[in-house]
Each structure stands twice: as structure tokens, then as C-alpha cells.
């Protein structure tokens, strides 16, 4: 029987940690993108280094659709437990392809990856065989594959390179010759020039482009990849990257770096960020800039350390003692991640307040192709002033912002203090100055208002139902709504979370029905909207088992809610 896949195919690789799913995906992603396919991948994995079952979804499609699909078209199981692990996602159409003992599913095709590899000389080539096989299925030019493999393994010995080329070729042939499968997906030359990025890379490159030159962090999944990316950029760029002893050291070092004149960023996850709460409060008091990337994972406590959730919004909104302003961004796309991270530095330097970039495991570990970035019309703003002898770091000014000096740049002195202070930065207990300083800090939030990115409306302006989401759920939800083809439903996505855009209430109030989609258990964004606007969103679609929403699931849940209404 022939399995046909048109315009969109979902291939899932599954196997134990350490079996090489990541390397197959690494090869495939570049090969498929470079041959002109729209590529999307996302991974889910267990909190272990070896064993267990992990899986990576790869979507190749004619359109740029970057949502997470529950449906699996082709499953390539590398371990025994793979099929069982994914059974809820297998359909009657699903094809399981792989080694004999792993292909006991009803629709299976045996391809002896390991045996072929062993023939070439070593079992380890089986991953390259598998990659070749998928390339063959998708009709990727063989020469492209071979050239790529030579490049990919360039640092290895010639023998290894040669054998990998054989491996990819053998896999390719099997895939190409396989008659049971026919995949028809458009390619485009345009895509070949695209960037292929993960969420973590988009955040990191954005930071780089924003002038980030000092990175502090303590390793923590899923935020470590941003640390590692920044470290890799430090080879060719002037960046100090320091792994600190703990997260408290991280935040305090980051603030020291900004004080001296660097543009510093920290990256962490919820638990690490919780430890920084006191430091965030210091940031506010000394009116320091600060850019902080927080990749969420399911809590509380250690929770599910390698999985995804949007459960730390409240923490990021309110971390730190006392009242003070902050900015919270939550990109929905790679483009947003890049531009927001880039702009975060200017913005933080200008308003002298923390800017948080809130992502999650699903976002940082997802990868797809996008157009190259526009680097024109952007400048790293020189926000530092040369100081005069009478310089006062916390001067009261007309525009409400105190010009920021740094040590030894001018004739003045730069004094900052965690106690309440006077304009010069020295401790004060003067009640009137206290009030003026609180007001000054608070007022900056007003100044920010004009910079707020409005929420993005997808769909018609005169919607009946408005579905609301924030951060990483955007692509999946957008695709779900597109597939529902219901003209009455529009989507409102917030990539700028706090302070909330002034039009928020109007958007919500216009709808007959509002539904919020959040990857957490309490609807934290809905609470923020309510506490700010008073608007109570009608329905919540919440998910908190550690996995991202899928297109299918959202279609279903939204349909149910719409139908419920009709009854």
C-alpha cells in the first residue's frame, strides 16, 4: 500500500538519550533547509544523559508552518521503547520505519540501519544512514548530501569522513528507492538563503546584535544553551562569559558589569531566577539596566527539569521586595526573539530597569527557518554620559531619567547604593527624598508606554471569539486557528507582557467570547490581564503536563468551547 504525504510530513525520531537523535536531526536540519525545504523541529527529552526515551519531531512542509503536531506520519524508532512511548500519537496512517525488532507496529517498514552501518565498518554510522534515508525519501540531491557530510565531519579523520559519505549514500538510496512512500513537498530557493535557528540561538544572536558583551550564568536547563551560544560567539567577539558559583553571584555580577559600563545579560530558568529575587530588587534600587533571559520549565522546585511550561510569569512579574518597575517580553517567533533580545539592551540602558525575556523549553529547543535579519536602522545607543565634577547618578531631571555615568569616564563620581539614597547616591533617611525617589522609579514605567509593542492580531478585526495567548504558544495556535477556518475567531498574541499595552482592554471587550491559552495550570496571564484591566477572560485552555500544546489538541479544545457556547 502506498503512503502519500502532501505538503506536510511529520517525521519523528525516537530513542534513548545518547543514541544520536540529536546528531541525526543536526544533519537533517541543515541538509533539508539547504535543499530548500521549510523545516521545523522540536524535541522532548527526559532528565537523564543516557537511556530513557526521547523524541524529536521534524516537520517538512510546503508552507512555513511551525506549530507542534501531535500526529506522526513517519516514526523512526531507535530503541525498543520508542513506539510505546509515542503510542498516543500514532494513527492508522503512521508508518514506522526502522530495524526489525523495532518495527512491530501495524504499518511498518524494515530498514536495517545498524546492519548497513556495520557493513560499512561500525554501528555508529547508523545515524548517518538514517539521515541519508530520510534525505532519500525527500529526494534531497545526493551530491548535496555528500558535500554536506564532508563539511560536517571536516574535523574528523579522512577514513571517518569517507565512511560517513558511504553511509549517507546507502541510506539515501534506500529512501529514494522505497516505493511504499510518496512525499510531495514544495521546495524554494528562497529558503536556501534562510537562517535556520533554534529559539535559544535567536535569543543569543539578538543579544549579540544588541551589544551584549558580558554574560553571567549558572548552568540550568533549559537556559544553558543561551550561555553556550554566547560562549561560542566569544571566540570572535569581545564578550566576557563567566560561569558563576551560584545564581546570586550571577545577578550581582551582572549588575556590577553594567555599573562599570558593560552590557550584560544573564540566562537562567525559574529556580535559578527565584534565587535572584533579591538581586532584582537591587537592580531596581540602583536603577541599573539588566537583561535577563528566563527559559521556563515546569515547577515548582526541580519539577520536570527538561520539559516545558509557562509557569513563571507571576514570579518574573513580582520577584524582588518592594515596588518597582520592570519590562517583560515573551517572544512568540524566532524573529521576535531576535529583535526583542536585541532591543532589550537599548531599552534597558535607556530606562535603567530590568528587561526580562521569558521563553520556555519548547521555545528554546524548537528550530525552524526564517528570513535573514534586518540589521539596518538599528544602532547600539550610547546611553552612557561623560560625567562632570558635580555629577549625580540619581539626579532628578525633567524627563525623569537620570543620565547614567560609569566610573572613570569624566570627572564625576558614580555612587550607587542599595539603601534609599539622595541624588548623589548616598544613604538618606529624608522622607521627602524617599518619596521623590520612589516616584521617579515608578514614573519610568510611564515613559516605557510609548515603546510597548502592541499585541498582534491574527484574523479579522471584527471577530466574535478572541483567542489570547502569549510567548511560545503562538505558532501552534496560529496554525490551529488557520485550520479551523472560522472567520469569527481571531488570535491575539502578546509578545510584550508587562507593562500591558493600553489597547488590551478594548481588544478583549470587543469579543463576544474570549479564550486564553496558557501552558500552565493557573492562567497567570489571565490574572495579569484581570488585575490590570479588570477584564475576566471567559475560558481558559491550560496545559501543564510538561508538554507543549499541539495543533490538533488546540483545534479540538477550541472547537469544544465554541460548540459548548452554541448549545
Amino acid at each position: 500500500m502506498l503512503s502519500k504525504f502532501e505538503n506536510d510530513v511529520v517525521i519523528v525520531l525516537a530513542g534513548e538519550a545518547g543514541q544520536g537523535i540529536q546528531s541525526i536531526e543536526g544533519i537533517l536540519s541543515l541538509l533539508l533547509k539547504r535543499s530548500g525545504y521549510n523545516y521545523f523541529s522540536t524535541s522532548e527529552f527526559m532528565s537523564r544523559v543516557r537511556g530513557g526515551v526521547n523524541s524529536t519531531e521534524i516537520r517538512i512542509s510546503s508552507q512555513e508552518v511551525n506549530g507542534f503536531r501531535n500526529r506522526i506520519d513517519i516514526l523512526i524508532p531507535l530503541s525498543d521503547k520508542s513506539v510505546d512511548h509515542l503510542k498516543s500519537r500514532l494513527t492508522d496512517q503512521t508508518l514506522v520505519i526502522g530495524e526489525k525488532d523495532k518495527t512491530t507496529y501495524k504499518k511498518s517498514i524494515e530498514v536495517p540501519f545498524s546492519d548497513i552501518a556495520k557493513e560499512i565498518g561500525n554501528k555508529i554510522f547508523s545515524n548517518t544512514v538514517a539521515a541519508g534515508f530520510i534525505c532519500g525519501l525527500l529526494n534531497v540531491e545526493l551530491q548535496l548530501c555528500k558535500d554536506f557530510i564532508a563539511e560536517y565531519f571536516a574535523s574528523k579523520k579522512q577514513d571517518i569522513i569517507d565512511k560517513n559519505i558511504i553511509a549517507i549514500s546507502k541510506g539515501h538510496k534506500i529512501g529514494k528507492d522505497l516505493e511504499q512512500i510518496k512525499i510531495t513537498i514544495d521546495k524554494s530557493k528562497k529558503i536556501q538563503k534562510h537562517l535556520l535557528l533554534t529559539g535559544a540561538e535567536a535569543v543569543s544572536l539578538g543579544a549579540l546584535a544588541g551589544g551584549c558583551n558580558f554574560v553571567c550564568a549558572y548552568p540550568m536547563s533549559p537556559a544553558t544553551s543561551v550561555l553556550e551560544n554566547m560562549a561560542s560567539y566569544s571566540k570572535d567577539n569581545d564578550i566576557i562569559v563567566e560561569q558563576v558559583e551560584d545564581e546570586i553571584g550571577v545577578i550581582n555580577m551582572t549588575l556590577g558589569a553594567w555599573y562599570a559600563g558593560a552590557r550584560a545579560m544573564a540566562t537562567t530558568s525559574g529556580g535559578g531566577f527565584a534565587l535572584m529575587s533579591e538581586g532584582i530588587s537591587l537592580c531596581a534600587m540602583i536603577e541599573s539596566p539588566l537583561v535577563m533571559h528566563i527559559a521556563q520549565r515546569p515547577g515548582p522546585a526541580t519539577g520536570l527539569p527538561t520539559r516545558t511550561e509557562q509557569g513563571d510569569l507571576n514570579l518574573v512579574l513580582y520577584a524582588g521586595h518592594g515596588d518597582f518597575p520592570r519590562i517583560i517580553l515573551a517572544p512568540g517567533t524566532l524573529e521576535e526573539a531576535f529583535y526583542q533580545s536585541r532591543n532589550a539592551f537599548n531599552m534597558s540602558a535607556k530606562y535603567q530597569m530590568p528587561v526580562f525575556i521569558l521563553t520556555d523549553q519548547f521555545f528554546v529547543d524548537s528550530k525552524y527557518n526564517i528570513e535573514n535579519f534586518d540589521l539596518d536602522n538599528f544602532e547600539i545607543e550610547e546611553s552612557i554620559v561623560k560625567t562632570n565634577p558635580d555629577y549625580q547618578r540619581f539626579a532628578f531631571t525633567k524627563d525623569g531619567l537620570s543620565p547614567r555615568g560609569i566610573p572613570n569616564h569624566g570627572k564625576g563620581l558614580v555612587c550607587v547604593d542599595s539603601d534609599e539614597h539622595d541624588e548623589s547616591g548616598h544613604i538618606t533617611e529624608d522622607f521627602d527624598i524617599r518619596v521623590k525617589m520612589v516616584d521617579k522609579r515608578k514614573h519610568k514605567l510611564k515613559l516605557v508606554e510609548k515603546d510597548i509593542t502592541p499585541p498582534k492580531l491574527i484574523g479579522k478585526e471584527n471577530y466574535k471569539t478572541l483567542v489570547i495567548c502569549w510567548g511560545s504558544t503562538f505558532n501552534t495556535l496560529k496554525e490551529a486557528l488557520e485550520e479551523l477556518e472560522n472567520e469569527d475567531i481571531s488570535l491575539l498574541h502578546f509578545s510584550w507582557i508587562y507593562p500591558l499595552h493600553k489597547d488590551t482592554f478594548d481588544y478583549l471587550n470587543k469579543a463576544d467570547k474570549t479564550i486564553i491559552v496558557e501552558n500552565n495550570s493557573s492562567g497567570q496571564m489571565a490574572q495579569l490581564i484581570r488585575s490590570t484591566t479588570g477584564f475576566a477572560i471567559d475560558e481558559e485552555i491550560l496545559k501543564y503536563n510538561g508538554l507543549p500544546f499541539s495543533v490538533e489538541e488546540l483545534k479540538q479544545k477550541i472547537t469544544n468551547l465554541i460548540n459548548k457556547e452554541k448549545k
Partner: protein
């Protein structure tokens, strides 16, 4: 005092009359003047406590941060701009209690900064609870059966961590203290000076007189580069040795080790971003 590090309203200092901190302040100001530093190129960093108020009372740049958290910003400031002279000040609670972990790891980095710990063996600002260096048996409103935790030995700890300059002074001896402060600041690498400081309000045991009677100076021929001997000295008490107890020159500093300063000693904060490098980095993703 006619010192450029003095502040205008030096009568407003919030320490108790008779507090050892006044001596330390005078001593450090003399040393700074003698070293011909300018207030502009100097950054004093501290946490919170009576000791940690020091930067407020010296005419210079300062970063008076959070309790226990003086060392991380000090390290970052020096790394971002190695042309600055960075001095950290803190109390025994601040640096050995709340901030203990940063001390451990700053020692591993060896930044070229100097740490002065005003060791009054008590929590001064919070009114007299035991600190990590409070003597055994000392009674306070919290330690109401007397301290029974073993006091931390900061000198032994520092040597074990191979902090590259470890000294102890008593602020009641201005001449010697200034001499050692000078050496510490001039030392390339992380230097710790534990300063015996009487707290006249809350420590009625370790008084000026007590420190006077229970300390002595290391002899001229004492060799601080001998770690084994230094350890022995570190455990001497009653009398406690004063002077440079341990010294370990020649280790590279944190800044020197940083990749960005390998070929170019322009401070990070004076460099500008290279757009074409950034573009290259982005285009690697095509």
C-alpha cells in the same frame, strides 16, 4: 584631615563614637592618598553592615550593594574595566556569613581586587548577634546559651583557598595597618585583609584592649610564601599573629586570563561592537 578622599560632611558618619571603623577609614584614606590614586579611578564595593558603609564615607566611586554580595560585582567591575582600582569592604557577617560562597569562588578566580573585612566578631548593624567569627561562649540575645559553633578561621580558610595575599591587622595600629593595606592594594591578584576591629557597642569582650593584648606581629624573617608555616600561624590564637601571613605571587589574575584581554588590553567598556563580526555570526546559521 586634608585628604582628597575625605567627604564634605564627615561629621555625619553613622558609626558609634569610638568605633574601630573610624580608624579603618582614616587608615584607608591615608593609604589611598599615598598611593596617588584618584577618586575617579577608584571603585569601592561593599555589601551591607556597619563595615559595608565605608564606601559612603570615602570620596570615590562606589557600589554599595546587598548584604553578603560585595565580591561578585567587584569582580565584574574589575573585569569590565581593569584600569579601575577596585576595593571591597565588608563585615565578618557580610563576607564570611551571608557571602561565604562568593569568597570561596572569588579566590578561585583571583581577580586583582582587595578585600577588607572589618572583623569585629559580631553583627554590628543588626545589634549584636553572633557572627561567624564570634568567640566560643559569647552570649547574645539570640545565642542566649552562648555561641557553641566553632568560630570560622578566616585566615586558615583563605590559605586553604590559596588566596594570593592573606593578611591580618588590628586597626588600633595605624602605622602597621597602613603598611599592610598598601601592600594588599599593590598586590596583583585577590588580596584579603582581615582587620580586627572593636565594636564598642556590642562586643564587650573583644575590645580595643583585648586586641591589643592578644595580638603580636610576625617577625621580619617570617616567610609568608611558605604555605605550611602559614597554616601553622593561621591557627595561632591568644596571641593572634598580625601581618602578611600568606602570599602567593605570580598567579595570573582573572582579568589576565580572560580571552578578550589576551591580545588587547583595552578595557571591555571602551570597545565598541563590531557589526561585521555580528553579521558573520548570524550568517553561520544559513
Amino acid at each position: 584631615m586634608n585628604n582628597k578622599f575625605d567627604i564634605k560632611n564627615n561629621s555625619d558618619i553613622a558609626w558609634c563614637p569610638g568605633c574601630g571603623n573610624f580608624l579603618i577609614r582614616k587608615e584607608i584614606m591615608s593609604v589611598l592618598e599615598e598611593l596617588k590614586l584618584s577618586p575617579q579611578e577608584l571603585v569601592l564595593v561593599s555589601g551591607i553592615g556597619q563595615a559595608a558603609k565605608m564606601p559612603q564615607y570615602v570620596n570615590s566611586n562606589f557600589f554599595n550593594g546587598l548584604h553578603g554580595r560585595g565580591l561578585p560585582p567587584a569582580t565584574a567591575i574589575k573585569a569590565a574595566n581593569p584600569q579601575l582600582t577596585v576595593l571591597a569592604f565588608g563585615g565578618d557577617g557580610d563576607m564570611y556569613g551571608e557571602g561565604g560562597n562568593h569568597l570561596l569562588h572569588t579566590s578561585r578566580r583571583n581577580p586583582d581586587i582587595t578585600l577588607f573585612v572589618h572583623d569585629n566578631m559580631i553583627y554590628g548593624l543588626t545589634k549584636g548577634q553572633a557572627s561567624p567569627t564570634t568567640n566560643f561562649g559569647f552570649e547574645t540575645p539570640v545565642q542566649n546559651f552562648g555561641v557553641f559553633e566553632r568560630p570560622l578561621n578566616p585566615i586558615a580558610l583563605a590559605i586553604s583557598l590559596e588566596i594570593t595575599f592573606v593578611a591580618r591587622v588590628f586597626c588600633g595600629h595605624p602605622e602597621q595597618t597602613q603598611e599592610i593595606m598598601k601592600k594588599a592594594i599593590n598586590h596583583k591578584g585577590f588580596a584579603l585583609v582581615d582587620i580586627f576591629q572593636p565594636c564598642v557597642s556590642f562586643n564587650k569582650i573583644n575590645t580595643h584592649k583585648w586586641f591589643e593584648e592578644n595580638t603580636y606581629y610576625l617577625k621580619e624573617d617570617y616567610d609568608p610564601t611558605d604555605r605550611d608555616k602559614a597554616f601553622k600561624k593561621a591557627y595561632e590564637t591568644m596571641p593572634f599573629p598580625l601581618g602578611v601571613i600568606y602570599k602567593n605571587d605570580g598567579r595570573k589574575t582573572f582579568e589576565e586570563n580572560l580571552h578578550i584581554y589576551q591580545k588587547n588590553d583595552t578595557p571591555l567598556v571602551k570597545r565598541s561592537t563590531n557589526l561585521s563580526n555580528i553579521k558573520n555570526e548570524i550568517n553561520k546559521k544559513i
